[in-house]
C-alpha cells in the first residue's frame, strides 16, 4: 500500500501572488466576467453589446437559463465595441459561442463567413416564421439563410412634448398627420429671442439625427432596389432631403448651428427634448427609460406614427431595428449555443427580457400581463408600428456602414448650405453604387466556397 506524500499547501504569499496575477489579467481584459459553473457543465461564452440596465436584464435571463438545466452553463460578458471585437476574435479563431449584435450588421458578418447558419437547428426545434412578427424574422435572414434569432426589437415614432403643444395653442392629443402639418405645428412651436436667435423649435430633422440616412421612408423612398441597385437620388429621396434642406433655408444655417451647439448630451437633463427646446423628435421605444431618468418629473409626452409626406397613405411608416443573437464561425459549442438562443426565444424568457429592457416582444404571441406590467405606457403604439405594413428596415447590404456615413455627410452638406439636395444625393449615388458593385464582385469570387460550406452545415 502506497501513500501519496501529503501535498504541501503553498505559502500564503504565493497564493496571493496568483490571485493578484489573475485579478490583473481580468482587469486588463476590460471584460467583466461571470464566474464559470465549476460543476462539469459545458461552459459557453456569450458576449453581449449591452451595458447598464439592458445588460442586467439579459444577465437575469442567463441566470434563469443556467438554473433551469444542468448541462450547459452560459458565461455572460458585457462587451463594448462588440462589432470590432467579434470581428477580430473570429479572425483570430477564438470567438465566443454566442454574440449579441445589431441586425444591420448581419449581412457583413454573414457574407464574410463569420457566422454559423441556423436553418438546420431552427427547423429541428420547430422554430419558424409564424412565431414571430414577420419583419424581425426576416431581419435574421441573408442570402437565403437564417443566421440569427431575435433578441429585443425596437421601432421609432414621433415623440412629442404635450406641455409645449398646449402652450402653443395646439391640442396635445392631436399630433401632426402629415409632413405639411408637422411643419405648420413647427411654426407655432418655434420661438425666437428679440435678437432673432432660436429659443425653441418644433422639430429638427438633425435632432438627434440618428436616422439621417432614412428620411426617404416617409416620402415613399428607399435606398436600394433589389440587392444591387442603389437609389439614393430617387425622386422620393430627393423630396425627403429637399424637406431637410428647407430647415437651414427657413431658419438660417448659422442660427441652427448656434442652437444645436447649446444642446446637451442625449442621456442628460440637457437633452433638448427633455428641457423643452425641441418639441417633436423621432425616437425609439427606449426613450421612455431616458425620460424617466432625465426629464423633469412633470414631463408629459405623447407618441404617434411619424407623419408621412402623403397624408392619404394609410401605412404608418416606422424604422424597425432589432438586436440579434448569433453563433460565430469557429464557436466551440454551437449546439449548446443554439440551445441557449432557442431558450431566449421562448415566450416567458423573451417577455421577461423585453419587459426588463422596456421593449416589446418580437414574438407574435404575447400575453396581456406583459402589457399590464410594462413600464412604457406607449409600448402598444411602438408594437403596432412594427407589426404594420409600413415597418421599414435599413437596407440589408454589406456596404451599409459606408452608405450611412455618406448619407450623413450629404445631410451635413445640405444643412450647411454647401450643396443642394440633388448634388449631395447624386454624389452618394455614384459613390455607393460603385462601392456596392465592388462588393458584389467580391461576393462572386467567394460565393461558391461559402454557399457550399453553408449548405453542408
Amino acid at each position: 500500500m502506497t501513500h501519496d506524500p501529503p501535498s504541501t499547501p503553498p505559502p500564503v504569499r504565493t497564493i496571493w501572488n496568483r490571485v493578484l496575477c489573475v485579478a490583473v489579467l481580468l482587469a486588463g481584459s476590460g471584460v467583466p466576467l461571470q464566474a464559470g459553473a465549476g460543476d462539469g457543465r459545458i461552459v459557453i461564452r456569450y458576449w453581449e453589446k449591452w451595458t447598464g440596465f439592458e445588460a442586467d436584464a439579459m444577465r437575469s435571463v442567463v441566470d434563469d437559463f443556467n438554473a433551469s438545466q444542468g448541462r450547459i452553463f452560459v458565461e455572460y460578458s458585457s462587451v463594448s465595441q462588440i462589432d470590432r471585437r467579434l470581428m477580430l476574435a473570429t479572425a483570430g479563431g477564438v470567438p465566443p459561442d454566442v454574440a449579441g449584435i445589431w441586425a444591420a450588421n448581419l449581412p457583413v458578418y454573414a457574407e464574410n463567413n463569420a457566422l454559423t447558419p441556423l436553418d438546420g437547428p431552427a427547423r429541428e426545434r420547430g422554430i419558424h416564421r409564424g412565431a414571430y412578427i414577420p419583419v424581425f424574422w426576416d431581419m435574421c435572414h441573408y442570402r437565403g439563410h437564417l443566421w440569427a434569432l431575435p433578441a429585443t426589437p425596437a421601432s421609432v415614432a414621433l415623440i412629442y412634448n404635450k406641455k409645449m403643444f398646449r402652450e402653443a395653442g395646439l391640442d396635445p392629443e392631436r399630433p401632426p398627420r402629415s409632413i405639411a402639418e408637422l411643419e405648420a405645428f413647427n411654426g407655432k412651436l418655434t420661438r425666437r429671442s428679440a435678437s432673432g436667435r432660436l429659443q425653441t423649435i418644433g422639430h429638427l430633422p438633425e435632432e438627434p439625427g440618428w436616422w439621417n440616412a432614412l428620411w426617404g421612408f416617409w416620402f415613399g423612398g428607399k435606398l436600394l432596389e433589389g440587392d444591387s441597385r442603389v437609389t439614393a437620388d430617387s425622386p422620393e429621396n430627393l423630396a425627403a432631403y429637399r424637406w431637410v434642406q428647407s430647415y437651414p433655408e427657413r431658419f438660417g444655417a448659422e442660427n441652427l448651428l448656434a442652437m444645436r451647439d447649446g444642446f446637451g448630451n442625449f442621456a442628460s437633463p440637457q437633452n433638448p427634448f427633455f428641457n423643452g427646446r425641441v418639441a417633436m423628435i423621432l425616437q425609439g421605444n427606449w426613450i421612455h427609460n431616458f425620460i424617466r431618468n432625465y426629464a423633469p418629473p412633470d414631463f408629459e409626452w405623447g407618441v404617434a406614427a411619424f407623419p408621412s409626406s402623403d397624408p392619404s397613405n394609410p401605412q404608418a411608416v416606422s424604422i424597425v431595428e432589432c438586436d440579434i443573437l448569433v453563433i460565430p464561425t469557429g464557436a466551440k459549442h454551437p449546439g449548446e449555443a443554439f440551445e441557449f438562443i432557442a431558450y431566449v426565444n421562448t415566450r416567458a424568457p423573451m417577455e421577461k427580457l423585453c419587459l426588463l429592457q422596456q421593449k416589446f416582444s418580437p414574438l407574435r404571441e404575447c400575453g396581456p400581463e406583459f402589457f399590464q406590467g410594462h413600464p412604457n405606457p406607449h409600448i402598444r403604439t411602438f408594437l403596432d408600428l412594427a407589426k404594420g405594413p409600413g415597418a421599414r428596415t435599413a437596407p440589408a447590404v454589406t456596404t451599409w456602414n459606408e452608405f450611412k456615413s455618406d448619407m450623413g455627410n450629404a445631410v451635413s452638406r445640405i444643412w450647411a448650405g454647401k450643396a443642394p439636395a440633388q448634388d449631395a444625393l447624386g454624389d452618394v449615388q455614384k459613390r455607393q453604387q460603385k462601392n456596392l458593385d465592388r462588393r458584389i464582385e467580391r461576393w462572386r469570387r467567394i460565393a461558391p466556397a461559402h454557399t457550399k460550406s453553408w449548405r453542408e452545415q
Partner: protein
C-alpha cells in the same frame, strides 16, 4: 568562427531576442503584411484575393480619401509650426531666472500628462459654440472689435462649423505642448554661457542673442521636435476621433487619414483598402521626413561637426 565566438554570438542573440522577436512579430510582419494586403481584396475574415493595384487605383478616384489627405496635410502644416513656436516661446520664458520658475514649469508641463481622450472631451466643451469657455472669453473681445469696425462677426461654432473645426483641433493639440517645452528647455540650458557673455560685451540685445546664438545652438532640438511633430501630426487620430464621436465632423472636415484607415479596416470591412491607405500614409511621412532631413543639412548646426 571559434567556439568562443559562437558562444558569444549565441549569448548576444539571446540577449537581443526579446526585442528581435517583438520587432519581427509586431513591426516587421505587420509592415510586410500591410504591403501585401494592400494589393488584395481582403476583409480580415474572408481569404485575401490578390487584385494587384486596384486598391490604389480606387484610392486615386476616391474623393473621401483626398479630403482626408487634405485635412491631414492642412492640420500638419499649421499644427507643426504653431506647436514649435508656442513650445519654444514657452521654453524661453521658463528659462528666465524668475521666482517661482519651478512652479511655472510644472504648470506648463501638467496638461501634457492628461491622456488624449480626456483632453479631447475637455476641449469638446471648451470649444462649445454656445456654452464653451473659449467663446465666453472671445465674445467680449469680438464685441469690442465689432464696435470699432462696425462689423458683426460672431464667435465661431468651433466643432460644428467646417470652416473652424480643424482650427479647433489644432488649438486642442497645442495644449499638450508641454513635452516639447521640456525638450526645448533642456536644449536652452545647454547653450554655453560664454557665448552670451561675449555677445553682451559686443552690446547684443535679447533679440540678436536669440537669433544669432540661441536658435543656431538649439537647432538640432528644433529639428528633433519638428520630426516628432511631423510624424505625430500626420498620424493624428485620437483627439478628432473622440471629439466627433468616431465620425468625420461637419462636412468631413475632421476626417483624417488615420481615421479613414480605421473606418475602412474596422467599420467597413475593407482591410485591403485600409492597408493601401496605410502604405500611402507611410510614404507621405517618409517623403516629408526625408525632405526635412535634406533641409536640416543646411539649417541645423551640430557643434561636434
Amino acid at each position: 568562427m571559434t567556439k568562443r565566438d559562437r558562444h558569444n554570438l549565441l549569448t548576444g542573440l539571446l540577449f537581443i531576442s526579446p526585442w528581435a522577436v517583438g520587432f519581427l512579430a509586431f513591426c516587421a510582419y505587420p509592415l510586410a503584411g500591410s504591403l501585401y494586403f494592400s494589393l488584395c481584396d481582403y476583409s480580415a475574415l474572408s481569404p485575401a484575393v490578390f487584385i494587384g493595384g486596384q486598391n490604389y487605383r480606387d484610392l486615386a478616384t476616391d474623393g473621401v480619401f483626398w479630403t482626408a489627405l487634405y485635412n491631414t496635410l492642412f492640420f500638419a502644416a499649421f499644427a507643426i509650426p504653431l506647436g514649435l513656436v508656442v513650445a519654444l516661446g514657452l521654453a524661453v520664458l521658463l528659462n528666465f531666472n524668475v521666482r517661482g520658475r519651478g512652479l511655472f514649469r510644472t504648470i506648463i508641463f501638467l496638461p501634457s500628462l492628461v491622456p488624449m481622450v480626456c483632453l479631447a472631451v475637455l476641449w469638446q466643451w471648451m470649444l462649445n459654440g454656445e456654452l464653451g469657455l473659449v467663446n465666453t472669453v472671445l465674445n467680449p473681445v469680438l464685441g469690442v472689435i465689432n464696435g470699432i469696425l462696425g462689423t458683426d462677426w460672431p464667435a465661431p461654432n468651433w466643432l460644428a462649423d467646417a470652416r473652424f473645426a480643424k482650427w479647433g483641433i489644432i488649438f486642442t493639440v497645442l495644449w499638450g505642448a508641454g513635452n516639447a517645452v521640456v525638450i526645448f528647455l533642456a536644449g536652452l540650458q545647454d547653450v554655453p554661457r560664454h557665448l552670451y557673455e561675449s555677445a553682451d560685451i559686443d552690446g547684443a540685445n535679447f533679440l540678436q542673442k536669440t537669433i544669432h546664438i540661441t536658435l543656431p545652438i538649439i537647432s538640432p532640438v528644433i529639428y528633433f521636435n519638428m520630426i516628432m511633430g511631423l510624424i505625430g501630426s500626420l498620424q493624428v487620430f485620437a483627439v478628432p476621433f473622440v471629439m466627433t464621436g468616431g465620425g468625420d465632423g461637419p462636412e468631413r472636415s475632421l476626417l483624417f487619414l488615420a481615421t479613414y484607415l480605421y473606418q475602412n479596416a474596422f467599420d467597413y470591412w475593407n482591410m485591403g483598402y485600409a492597408c493601401a491607405i496605410g502604405v500611402i500614409l507611410f510614404l507621405v511621412i517618409l517623403l516629408l521626413t526625408l525632405a526635412a532631413c535634406k533641409l536640416s543639412e543646411r539649417h541645423v548646426f551640430y557643434a561636434g561637426k
